[in-house]
């Protein structure tokens, strides 16, 4: 409104703006009421189960081209979210692009842990299960060594395994992986590192009591924590952002697929959660060489394979400094970084990252051969 009491461009523009918002809201309501989250399928790239141990399964993606395969590469997701995020939808899938790039690709699915799994710890996930999975991959592919592609906590599993069994790992691709759990203190961005601050805010005795009572770290609880890391963004995501994409069917479908993935948040096994929160977030044992897996200390300097470290410049969950700290703790292992101008999940699903990350991984794998 100008001081003359009229609006530049006429009042039609203002009414049009409001009318546009109202129209989009109505359209959104209609679309959301007619869609069913259960009908949306994610992780649809064809694959076959080749091994399982209880709830833990190993799958191999069907190669497009049986000759000139790169790898083998095993995707190792952490226990806080499902691996399905790497294969969100056709055309926006890291898995699809890697398979298309000639990678012999496998994924380990941790399943949905229950109270029966509450005593599983890092020795189970970062040592035994990974070792068993690599045995199966060797039998299927004929390769003695494989590349581990770790995601977030799965990257820590990969680091531990590569340090304990350097002869079994051909290369490490780490994505949004925390390494130095106190590095957030040096991060100047106030919106970064809440997860670190909040985790350290819980005294170890409270973590022990929490896990004792719940058995596992409930998925609902970790989901609420992740949503609380950026409350303003969470609020606008379900309001203004959603209204904006009401007329864009593709964007709305991607939104629904992301919601499907977010809603599928497993419980984190209790014993491993205690190690994660106390020994890593509180005590930072990994970079201090005190973290123990399978009865042995994990020495990051013992890693010998090439490492590609991918992180999000705007990652508010795992601050870039926490990931990049790896460089100073490796020994002679060849090391390379890729910064992606996105947030945590954006490294896998954003349009920008889709143009950047898969190609980089494929070219890096080609150089390993």
């Amino acid at each position: 409104m100008t001081k003359n009491g009229t609006t530049r461009g006429g009042e039609t523009a203002a009414r049009g703006d409001l009318a546009g918002i109202t129209r989009r809201m109505l359209l959104l309501t209609r679309k959301l009421s007619s869609s069913n989250l259960r009908d949306i399928e994610i992780a649809t790239t064809p694959k076959d189960e080749i091994w399982n141990d209880g709830k833990v399964k190993l799958c191999r993606y069907r190669p497009r081209n049986k000759s000139a395969l790169l790898g083998p590469v095993l995707i190792v997701q952490g226990l806080f979210g499902r691996y399905t995020m790497t294969d969100l939808q056709p055309g926006r899938s890291l898995v699809e692009k890697l398979v298309a790039g000639g990678v012999d690709l496998y994924v380990i699915d941790w399943g949905n842990p229950t109270r029966a799994d509450q005593y599983r710890d890092f020795s189970d996930y970062a040592d035994r299960y990974l070792g068993d999975a690599l045995d199966q991959i060797r039998a299927v592919s004929g390769h003695d060594r494989a590349v581990l592609l770790g995601i977030c906590q799965g990257g820590v599993f990969g680091l531990c395994f590569a340090a304990l069994y350097p002869e079994r790992v051909k290369g490490l691709v780490l994505t949004v992986t925390p390494v130095d759990f106190h590095a957030d203190r040096a991060d100047p961005d106030p919106t970064h590192g809440f997860l670190y601050v909040w985790s350290r805010n819980l005294p170890p005795v409270l973590v022990e009591d929490l896990i004792r009572e719940y058995g596992n770290l409930p998925g609902e609880m970790t989901g609420a924590v992740f949503q609380g890391l950026a409350p303003a963004r969470t609020f606008s995501k379900y309001t203004t952002d959603l209204i904006d994409i009401a007329e864009d069917d593709d964007a709305l479908e991607t939104f629904m697929r992301m919601e499907k993935w977010l809603a599928d948040r497993p419980d984190h096994p209790g014993a491993a959660a205690k190690q994660w929160l106390i020994e890593l977030f509180h005590q930072n044992q990994l970079v201090e060489g005190r973290f123990t897996v399978g009865g042995r200390q994990v020495d990051l300097g013992a890693i010998t394979c090439p490492v590609l470290n991918i992180y999000g410049a705007k990652d508010h969950i795992i601050p870039p400094l926490s990931s990049r700290a790896l460089r100073q703790h490796l020994g002679a292992a060849p090391y390379e970084e890729l910064e992606v101008p996105t947030g945590h999940v954006g490294v896998f699903v954003s349009r920008h990252a889709q143009r950047l990350v898969p190609d980089k991984i494929v070219s890096w794998l080609s150089a390993l051969e």
């Binding site: 530049r8 703006d17 069994y165 106030p190 919106t191 805010n201 929490l210 009572e213 399978g294």
Partner: protein
């Protein structure tokens, strides 16, 4: 009952009188309570002497504030000094005497603590949102004023949305790092865990009474299976402690 007596005989006598009064179906309740109160006062005096003054009433104590003072039992608001009552809950258990009352009180206390912590968390969070909103309104007002002065258009929908996000992100980030927030967060989880524990114990008691397996028993079973599984893996690998596959 005269003040300043030796105490021990008085207590016994009062206890006997009180017991008789209690057992007498025709007792006048109005007589019973003053007797109980007298007994408490005498007991306090004796306890204070025996403890060399350590058990003496604290300055500012009034009738009914001590959890054992029956005057307080008759008050609608409960004991005058809740902290003493809670301390009593943490005292030793005596072979089932008043156990059920103590447990009910303990459950009530954990529930009250949880609700208080939840309200505190909501208050701290709401303050952060309000601060963000206040700054947003201030900033928006200035922008609109500037637009009017320069005869340009008011901020549009997109501009306002970006402005809100920028301001809210910064304000809420500050709030979420504040001592108030961190304390409220810690307390909320602490009280949630404590409440859950007393509720679980209560449910396990019922389960035990009905012959149903309790969660603690199932957890024991899970632990045993897990240990057996680990032993089986170690045996399969020839006693190798490392479990990195073959």
């Amino acid at each position: 009952m005269p003040e300043g007596g030796t105490g021990d005989r008085d207590i016994l006598r009062l206890w006997l009188e009180g017991s008789r009064a209690f057992l007498n179906a025709n007792v006048d309740a109005a007589r019973l309570w003053p007797q109980c109160q007298q007994m408490f006062a005498t007991w306090s005096r004796v306890a204070s002497k025996m403890a060399g003054g350590a058990g003496a009433a604290r300055a500012g104590d009034h009738d009914g504030e001590h959890p054992f003072d029956p005057v307080g039992w008759m008050r609608a608001e409960g004991q005058g000094r809740m902290a003493d009552l809670w301390r009593w809950l943490e005292g030793p258990d005596f072979a089932g005497i008043l156990d059920e009352h103590r447990r009910v009180l303990r459950e009530s206390r954990e529930w009250m603590a949880y609700v208080t912590a939840l309200e505190q968390m909501q208050a701290v969070t709401a303050a952060g949102w309000m601060q963000a909103f206040r700054r947003f309104i201030d900033m928006l007002s200035r922008k609109m004023e500037a637009a009017r002065d320069s005869d340009t258009e008011d901020p549009d929908w997109e501009t306002m949305r970006v402005l809100w996000r920028e301001i809210a992100d910064v304000e809420l980030a500050e709030m979420q790092r504040s001592d108030d927030y961190l304390t409220a967060q810690r307390e909320l989880i602490r009280t949630q865990v404590d409440l859950r524990q007393v509720l679980r114990e209560r449910i396990e008691e019922f389960a035990d009474m009905l012959g149903l397996p309790t969660r603690a028993e199932i957890d024991d079973l899970h632990r045993a299976v897990d240990e057996l599984r680990r032993e089986a893996v170690a045996l399969r690998q020839g006693g190798n402690t490392g479990r990195g596959g073959a």
